[in-house]
């Protein structure tokens, strides 16, 4: 009888092992090639349901065996016999389902690889353990030593498999995210939950991206848009990637511009929508979570804290820059970024009355390659000062209305290689100066109320066809219209009034 039981058991265990090998081959090959096999996906989702059975059973088995060892109780040994069977059967079932779940492509990466192969190892070990137990029970010559050794070994493997499985589901930082500081330090892992950065004004504040945004993206998005997979060529696993365009050409987020942030749009779409993210069937963010990300983007989408030393240096440089610029602004020279986020400046001398201090202009000259537009607005800037801007590489629009000694300024103006719009209205520019302007590749040139002769004006126009040249307003044309206007106003004649 024992012989029959032993043989049947051996056959069953061997076929289960062969089945396991076959499922491994199947999921590695055929299934992996396809995006998803529906029934495999359906069954695979039972993996998390089943897997807790072998874990519990194994712990039970371990405790019963330990008790049996101490008590030498036959009843306990018989219980262990039942437990080992149940444990082996459920663990191998769990492995089958796990392999099916892995094959649908939702999971990938090192963690998966470790979890999968250690899981297979554990299931195979469980079958061997059951086999040993059957041999012991049937007195087929295996000692308790090997069995107990395997039992302890499998406990270790199971713990590791379970840990990686948990990481796959909840993310790797899940367990330690709220660990107390001393423990987090021991684990050599920064405690993300309480990570802080020092803000500009010295206040301690939590970094919203690191603490709240990244974990959300990690949980809901990074599986398909991360280092392992980049569906539609989008990645959301680092701050930089959030502003990197993907297949559709849009960037996931544009700081401060919610309407320009596709990620926000996709998150808010109802699950039924084809573009909704995460797609139908995947866990979806709650409205509060999406609102959090939306607010973060709307408020400038501040990034994670970076290399402290680099940031400190950068901040010091910016601080120095700000002090200098504020000095200029205080003295009436408006030096303003052309738009948010731009490093280029619009410089306006509107609030300067009369002359400009040399040291102010020298200070401004430090930023000459970042000036995009310069409006002197009647301030008495001298050629010696303008000379300090020689070679300004980004200057596109220069307004020199009312400038004096303009002819002598032309030489330095010709060094502004990016210059597009040049306004000399009301300056004392003459023919000599104009003739030297031909080297510039201008879009528009304003020459009204200058000393330029009509002859030189048309000569310049003829030889620079691409430049829109504006001179004085033609008053004769205005007079001609006036005549017509008076003819047309039959019922209303202002001359009669």
């Amino acid at each position: 009888m024992k012989r029959v039981y032993f043989l049947l058991s051996t056959v069953l265990l061997v076929s289960l092992a062969l089945l396991l090998a076959w499922v491994v081959v199947l999921t590695e090959g055929q299934f992996a090639a396809e995006e998803s096999v529906e029934w495999a996906q359906f069954l695979g989702r039972f993996h998390p349901v089943i897997l807790h059975l072998p874990i519990g059973l194994f712990v039970g088995l371990f405790v019963v065996e330990l008790a049996a060892l101490l008590n030498r109780n036959d009843g306990l040994r018989r219980s262990a016999h039942i437990l080992v069977w149940l444990m082996a059967l459920t663990s191998v079932l769990s492995a089958y389902l796990g392999l099916l779940l892995a094959s649908n492509g939702d999971y990938s990466g090192d963690t998966l690889w470790l979890h999968k192969w250690l899981g297979i190892l554990f299931s195979a070990g469980a079958l061997v353990l059951a086999f040993f137990k059957v041999r012991i029970v049937c007195r087929e010559g295996v000692g308790n030593g090997l069995y107990r050794f395997l039992l302890v070994g499998l406990l270790v493997v199971m713990t590791v498999v379970g840990h990686y499985g948990g990481n796959l589901t909840h993310g790797s930082g899940y367990l330690t995210a709220y660990a107390p500081d001393w423990l987090a330090a021991k684990l050599d892992k920064p405690n993300e939950a309480v990570e802080t950065v020092v803000s500009e004004d010295g206040a301690i504040e939590s970094n919203v991206y690191t603490r709240q945004i990244q974990p959300l993206l990690e949980q809901y998005c990074v599986q398909c848009h991360g280092i392992e997979k980049q569906k539609s060529k989008y990645r959301l696993d680092t701050y930089e990637y959030l502003m990197t365009p993907g297949k559709m050409g849009d960037t996931p987020i544009t700081p401060s511009m919610v309407s320009e942030s596709k990620l926000i749009e996709y998150l808010w779409l109802p699950e039924s929508d084809d573009m909704a993210m995460p797609p139908e069937g995947k866990p979806r963010m709650s409205a509060e979570q999406i609102m959090l990300i939306t607010h973060w983007v709307a408020n400038g989408a501040e990034g994670p804290p970076v290399d402290e030393a680099a940031v400190a240096a950068e901040r010091a440089a910016l601080e120095a820059e700000r002090t200098e610029l504020n000095q200029l602004i205080k003295n009436g020279i408006m030096v303003l970024p052309v738009s948010r986020g731009s490093e280029l400046f619009y410089v306006d001398f509107q609030n300067v009355k009369g002359t400009v201090a040399d040291e102010d202009f020298a200070l401004l000259a430090n930023y000459k390659d970042r000036i995009q537009e310069l409006k002197l607005a009647g301030a008495a800037v001298t050629n010696a000062q303008l000379e300090l801007l020689r070679g300004a590489s980004e200057l596109q629009t220069l307004n020199l209305s009312g400038y004096s000694s303009a002819d002598d300024a032309v030489d330095v103006i010709a060094s502004f290689s990016a210059l597009k719009n040049l306004i000399f209205y009301g300056s004392d520019l003459g023919d000599a100066g104009l003739s030297k302007l031909s080297t510039l590749n201008l879009d528009s040139l304003y020459l009204g109320a200058t000393n330029i002769t009509p002859k030189q004006f048309s000569a310049y126009q003829n030889s620079n066809g691409a430049v829109r040249v504006f001179g004085d307003v033609d008053l004769n044309a205005v007079s001609a219209i006036e005549v017509i206007d008076l003819e047309n106003t039959a019922d209303f004649n202002p001359n009669k009034k």
């Binding site: 309407s259 948010r340 609030n351 209205y425 109320a449 206007d485």
Partner: protein, 453 residues
């Protein structure tokens, strides 16, 4: 994270100027690079008739005197007669060939700079409400005027002048001062009115014979206000009052200077029609000239109102269309064209947005025998300069010029596009009031790429 990113997010926004300019009117950084830096709003009070100005309708001429074949909505006076053809001929102007009536031959000569919008609509058929909507984006009084929004969003370049100036021709728009009001925005952003005559502004001449005396008075007043300010923690109204005294002090120098057009050359004055035989033309010419001078000085938003000279009237010709529109057109046509040409010659048209609009249009059918009633269903307006695509016609009304039927536009769209040209995302510029982040465009407004250069 690059240099620019840190700069953009932390250091270079509103706080940049905080250290050196503790002014609520300090220039602000636009959301994106602007094409226009200033706006001149040419408000055509009363409502210009579209079929008589920028929207020719041959069908109307053909069916002149016949009963309208289309459904006529109730109008304000509801004294609707038959179809009334335009008494003026249209000509095609410039390379773009935009048709403009004989009412505006001077503006016609600037056709290639204009973007004529023929599908504008109003939110109300009544003057005050349509007016509030045009200025403030809402038909009821009490909202901030667009000039106030621009002031709030962008501040102003010149710290000695207000950011929002109305050059008042004398005829207060229906709806009164609330048209230019700051609403719930800080009071620094309300319009300052200047007149194109002496005195340009009440009390702009100091009463004190010595500057030090006035300064001492102001400092004392300031110290009293400051202690009040400290008693009421963060009382915006007190802070605003303090700031207004200081701005007024600085304006004493600048305002008389910037409004003094006597130093302008004879050619410039002639360009603006200041030698016209008609007083209203001369006055509007000086308004336009002051507007240019204000923009030159960095003022953010300038609005011109129509003339209040005796005998003048708004464009509200319920009767006597021909005489009334001719008079009004004659008053503004040459000065406005002069302004466009002068700005262009000075290299300022590219950075100055001109907007010409009434609060609504007029009916293509007659009111009584020879007038036209209010028509909010479709009318024409135009924009020029500051990033607008010149020589363009956008939208269309039906064949009678009654209703906008193609690319319909409303005041929110107008405001959204004006803001866009000034570098503001109209969806981002908000002010928290009554528990809401309120926008000029409320929940509306579309950017129209077809009208942008």
């Amino acid at each position: 994270m690059g240099f620019g990113m840190l700069a953009a997010t932390s250091l270079f926004q509103r706080d940049l100027l905080g250290a050196s300019l503790s002014s609520p009117l300090a220039p602000q950084i636009p959301h994106f690079p602007p094409t226009a830096k200033s706006v001149i709003f040419l408000y055509m009070d009363g409502g210009v008739s579209q079929v008589d100005s920028f929207d020719p309708k041959p069908q109307l001429t053909k069916e002149n005197g016949q009963a309208p074949k289309f459904k006529v909505d109730a109008t304000v006076f509801n004294n609707n007669g038959n179809l009334l053809k335009s008494p003026w001929e249209f000509k095609n102007y410039g390379e773009s060939g935009i048709p403009i009536s004989d009412l505006f031959p001077h503006i016609g000569s600037c056709a290639d700079d204009l973007c004529v919008i023929r599908s504008m609509t109003a939110l109300s058929p009544n003057h005050p409400n349509a007016n509030y909507a045009l200025h403030c984006g809402h038909v009821l009084a009490g909202r901030p005027s667009m000039g106030s929004w621009f002031s709030y969003g962008l501040g102003t370049m010149n710290q000695n002048l207000p950011s929002y100036v109305v050059v008042n021709g004398g005829l207060m728009p229906p709806g009164g001062m609330q048209t230019f009001g700051n609403g719930f925005l800080p009071a620094n952003h309300q319009a300052s009115l200047v007149a194109p005559k002496h005195p340009v502004m009440n009390n702009i001449q100091p009463r004190e014979s010595l500057t030090e005396l006035q300064r001492k008075k102001l400092d004392y007043l300031n110290s009293i206000d400051r202690s009040l300010f400290q008693n009421f923690h963060h009382a915006d109204e007190v802070e605003t009052a303090i700031q207004n005294y200081e701005l007024a002090y600085r304006m004493q120098m600048e305002v008389p200077e910037v409004t003094d057009i006597s130093k302008e050359t004879a050619a410039t004055k002639r360009l603006y029609g200041m030698d016209s035989p008609f007083e209203q033309t001369r006055q509007y010419g000086s308004q336009c000239l002051i507007a240019r001078r204000l923009v030159e000085q960095g003022v953010r938003f300038v609005e011109l109102t129509v003339s209040g000279i005796s005998g003048a009237d708004r464009w509200d010709q319920h009767g006597n269309l021909k005489a009334g529109h001719e008079m009004n057109a004659f008053a503004v046509d040459q000065p406005i064209a002069g302004l466009i040409k002068d700005l262009k010659s000075r290299g300022l048209l590219d950075s100055t947005l001109l907007v010409f609009s009434g609060e609504f249009g007029r009916t293509p059918f007659a009111q009584g025998q020879n007038g036209r009633d209010h028509n909010p269903q479709g009318f024409s307006m135009w924009m020029a300069g500051g990033g607008i695509k010149g020589g363009t016609i956008y939208g269309a009304t039906d064949e009678y010029g009654y209703r906008a039927v193609e690319n319909k536009m409303d005041v929110h769209d107008l405001h959204a596009n004006m803001m866009h040209l000034m570098g503001i995302d109209h969806k981002q510029l908000t002010y928290r009031f009554s528990g809401r982040d309120v926008r000029l465009t409320d929940v509306h407004g579309h950017i129209i790429p077809e009208i942008l250069a």
